[in-house]
């Protein structure tokens, strides 16, 4: 919780700024609409967090989300009874992709950056090969309900987000979380003290794949079927995690902070829209803010971090 404080403070400031311009935001309906929009990225960031804290990257999640949505549309093809089996299949695919990423990274000793980059190419190629170049078919109403509908006033996606968030926090408090953190901090020391480093890392990749599957289910309903639905999500998720103060390279940061980072990123988009910095320059502002935020984190607490690029020069 203590680690998440800086990013939570930033988040509160941003939310207050949004509420200042748009008072509707303070009403339950307004805030729930925001949470519903943010849910997919927050869930994806939680998955990415596990991989990053174990010292790896997962660049394949964006194309995995696209692949899952395209697969869902083609297999369901508007048939209501197909909804649940297809959802189960999507989750299995997500876990399987994570398993392959993890096994190739750990057992074949290929850097995860390359493994998941290869997976990105394979997934985007394979799914469009299978669907003939463009998404086909349609999602059923039951499937879309997860991204659109709700239980009374509370959207399903917010409930799913709460469940995922609770599960992620619980996982990080359990033995798994502790060994994962140790494996990311110093792989060799962890291995020597009996941690099954390969197994925890593979599990982390599977969690990321699972998160991508859930994100795809939410986005399929929320944003609809397109070939671009997952585009760039891998970078957004990694950015969100880093924005939450989680260090690339592993071993540091909390999952709550990573999810708060995703909320912050989404709040930032909302705010930029409200202030009329629409579309184009939004990216520029986003880029500047990401660099500044990460730089501020690195400069403020230098003694907490192991020496990285440039430390050496600054110290000499």
């Amino acid at each position: 919780m203590k680690r998440a404080l800086p990013i939570l403070a930033v988040l509160v400031v941003l939310l207050a700024a949004i509420a200042f311009v748009n008072p509707f935001f303070l009403e339950p309906a307004g805030f729930l609409a925001f949470a519903k929009r943010a849910a997919p990225l927050v869930i994806l960031a939680a998955g990415q967090y596990f991989v990053i804290v174990s010292g790896e990257f997962d660049l394949s999640v964006g194309s995995l989300v696209t692949a899952e949505v395209v697969i869902a549309a083609r297999l369901i093809d508007g048939e209501e009874p197909a909804t649940w089996p297809v959802i189960a299949l999507l989750i299995v695919i997500g876990l399987l992709v994570g398993l392959v990423n993890g096994v190739v990274t750990t057992k074949l000793r290929v850097p995860s950056f390359i493994v998941t980059l290869g997976m990105l190419l394979v997934l985007s190629g394979a799914v469009f090969l299978w669907s003939g170049g463009a998404p086909r078919g349609a999602l059923s109403e039951g499937f879309r309900a997860f991204g659109r509908g709700g239980l009374g006033p509370v959207p399903w996606s917010v409930l799913i987000l709460l469940a995922v968030g609770a599960a992620a926090i619980w996982l990080m408090r359990a033995d798994f979380g502790k060994t994962l953190m140790v494996a990311g901090d110093n792989e060799r020391a962890a291995a020597l003290s009996g941690v099954r480093v390969h197994r925890v890392k593979i599990f982390a990749f599977m969690l990321s794949g699972l998160a991508a599957a859930v994100t795809a289910i939410l986005l399929g309903g929320f944003a609809g079927v397109s070939a671009q639905v997952g585009q760039g999500l891998e970078f957004s998720a990694i950015t969100a995690v880093v924005l939450g103060g989680v260090v690339l390279g592993g071993g540091r940061g909390s999952v709550l902070a990573a999810m708060a980072g995703a909320f912050t990123l989404e709040a930032l988009f909302t705010l930029l829209n409200l202030y009329g910095i629409s579309g184009a320059l939004e990216f520029t502002v986003q880029g500047v803010i990401i660099i500044v935020a990460v730089a501020a984190g690195a400069v403020r607490l230098p003694w907490k971090f192991t020496p990285r690029k440039g430390d050496a020069h600054a110290a000499s």
Partner: protein, 323 residues
Amino acid sequence: MNGIPVAARLREPTQVVFLALLGLIALGWVLVALDGGQFLTMESVVGIQQRSAALGIVAVGQTLAILAGSLDLSVAYLISLTSLVAAEIMAGQDGNIVPAVAAVLALSALVGLVNGLVITRLRVHAFIATLGVALIIRGILDHLYDGPAGKVPESFQVLGYSRIGPVPVSALLWAGVAVVAWFLLSRTRLGYRIYAVGGNEEVARLSGIRTGRIVVLTHVLCSVCAGVAGLLLASRLGAGAPTVGTDGGYDLESIAAVVLGGTALAGGKGGVAGTVGGVLLLAVLDTIFNQLEVNSFVKDVVRGVVIVIAVAVYARRTKGRSA
């Protein structure tokens, strides 16, 4: 190098990638012959070179950044930006070529300087720093341009299209860039320092190398290479285009080519020769698929698998050697 027995030298990733390249050409020959075509025609040889020139130039720059233990995700947007700057300044006039080239080189050096300083002075991880700079450039591109702009005079299009015998001018440019980078890495003090910083930054610092400067310099060189690629693409298109860099996927693809060439992603190991092999391997693969008229999506799948397998093979070999 001369004292090393042949068997050990064959374990070097550079040799592996060129052997794989030869194997792939042989395989391509057989497959295309079975399909009733002819593989190494003049047309396809020129095609391979032209296809690989732009990616090759970017990948050479990327090699420098990766060797120093960094990486650059901003090259794709920088290529788009420089293609536009070049075409806008040229505006179809022969006299404007020199100022345009100068402006592109200056601009890309500046972007590289920003990348390098953010990484070294602000201590932002290279992944995030260059991703942030990529977003900044993307925003500027989206804000200023909707589509192709500017005009490249015909005399400058020579760079993109004409050739001397079977060798396109663009391939010569690539070869030039690669030779300069090779010389820099293997024959100068700066080159040794780049390897030292990428190998172990702390040790390099303790041996008196100003590691920050080295990282900044590799980023400047990497961005300048991207600028040169932008010039090449502008001359090929006859105009600048805001999507030319991202459509080519030059960011991730250049990293993939570097790693395919046996350079370690963590830095300190590898070289330009391997990268040239990696880029050619990808281009030959492309050509085979084109000649067999295979669906372009299969290409992506095979490409992804090839890259992962190659790096897995290198990882095996280093393990075998150190054991």
